[in-house]
């Protein structure tokens, strides 16, 4: 499922916040690849393709922010789930703060705030 808006700038923005969003999605409970992809899809502009999300999940795991575990599936082989590590939680908190600061700054800029 290609992102609805293939505008380059939106893509750039999305790339920037995708890590934050994935960490946030996994904040309260573990989830698996397909569920994460569809959750992002349901969030409109955040819909990143599966060929973006899966590699990113792997990178986050390689960076130690996520860990995987297997959960038995009723039909078929065990399914790989992702959950936050302690480092992942710290990173989520840091990125969340950065995002708030950035969003606030952009809002003020759009409102025309001048020194």
């Amino acid at each position: 499922m290609a992102p609805p808006d293939t505008n380059d700038w939106t893509s750039q923005l999305r790339r920037g916040v995708l890590e934050l969003c994935i960490l946030q999605i996994l904040r309260d409970e573990p989830s698996y690849g397909y569920e994460i992809v569809t959750t992002l899809e349901s969030l409109g502009p955040l819909a990143a393709g599966e060929n973006t999300v899966y590699p990113l999940l792997r990178r986050l795991k390689a960076d130690g922010l996520l860990e995987t575990f297997l959960r038995e599936s009723p039909a078929g082989p065990p399914r790989q789930y992702y959950r936050l590590t302690a480092d992942g939680r710290r990173r989520l908190a840091a990125l969340g703060k950065d995002w708030e600061a950035m969003a606030d700054a952009v809002a003020r800029c759009m409102k025309g705030d001048r020194p």
Binding site: Y32, G33, T38, E50, N51, P55, R58, R59, A75, P77
Partner: protein, 185 residues
């Protein structure tokens, strides 16, 4: 649930090949996850064509993983030949003298003590049953002979076990320093 369709099989086989320079464990996990994705997407009602199209060509998908993990899909930075030779020389320099000493000593003790120990036990038993040939003299008596023989045999077997253990340790060490190189694609 994944439906085993020839298209899926072909896609995943090609995908696995495109991931040739990823570590085997990672590669297996990645392929398994994409297989799971295809199954989940189909279970959610999407057509197989749609799913595979959205995943894109296997080379591009493999490249996406490689970019994220900062390795190149088909030509991973291979261990330079000079590095590998340095490691081999280093291992040889460090390990050859101790290995020579340990294996020679333990090996000799192992074989010699075990064999002679068994021989002494047999002699002791023979002496006890009066069957000792005339040209063999047992000065310490049958019981002591059997005991001595047993001691020798045990010492020999311990030495032999030590040699084997050392060899195993050395093999693990070599494997760690010189991991098998990834297959050329």
């Amino acid at each position: 649930m994944t439906i085993d369709h020839p298209l899926v099989h072909r896609y995943l086989t090609a995908f696995e090949a495109a991931l040739a320079s990823t570590a085997p464990d990672d590669r297996a996990e990645i392929v398994a996850e994409i297989r799971q994705h295809i199954g989940d997407a189909q279970a959610a009602g999407r057509t197989l064509d749609d799913v595979l199209h959205a995943l894109g060509p296997v080379d591009a998908l493999a490249r996406a993983y490689a970019l994220e993990l900062a390795i190149s899909p088909r030509s991973a930075p291979r261990e330079p030949r000079s590095d590998r030779w340095l490691k081999i020389l280093g291992l040889m320099a460090v390990a050859s003298l101790p290995s020579f000493i340990v294996l020679t000593v333990l090996g000799t003790i192992g074989i010699a003590f075990t064999l002679s120990g068994l021989a002494v036990i047999i002699a002791g038993i023979a002496d006890a049953s009066g069957a000792l040939p005339g040209w063999i003299r047992n000065d310490i008596g049958p019981a002591a002979a059997i005991a001595t023989g047993a001691g020798l045999t045990v010492a020999g077997m311990l030495a032999g076990w030590g040699a084997v253990a050392y060899t195993r340790f050395l093999t693990r060490l070599v494997r760690r320093v010189l991991p098998p190189r990834p297959a050329h694609s």
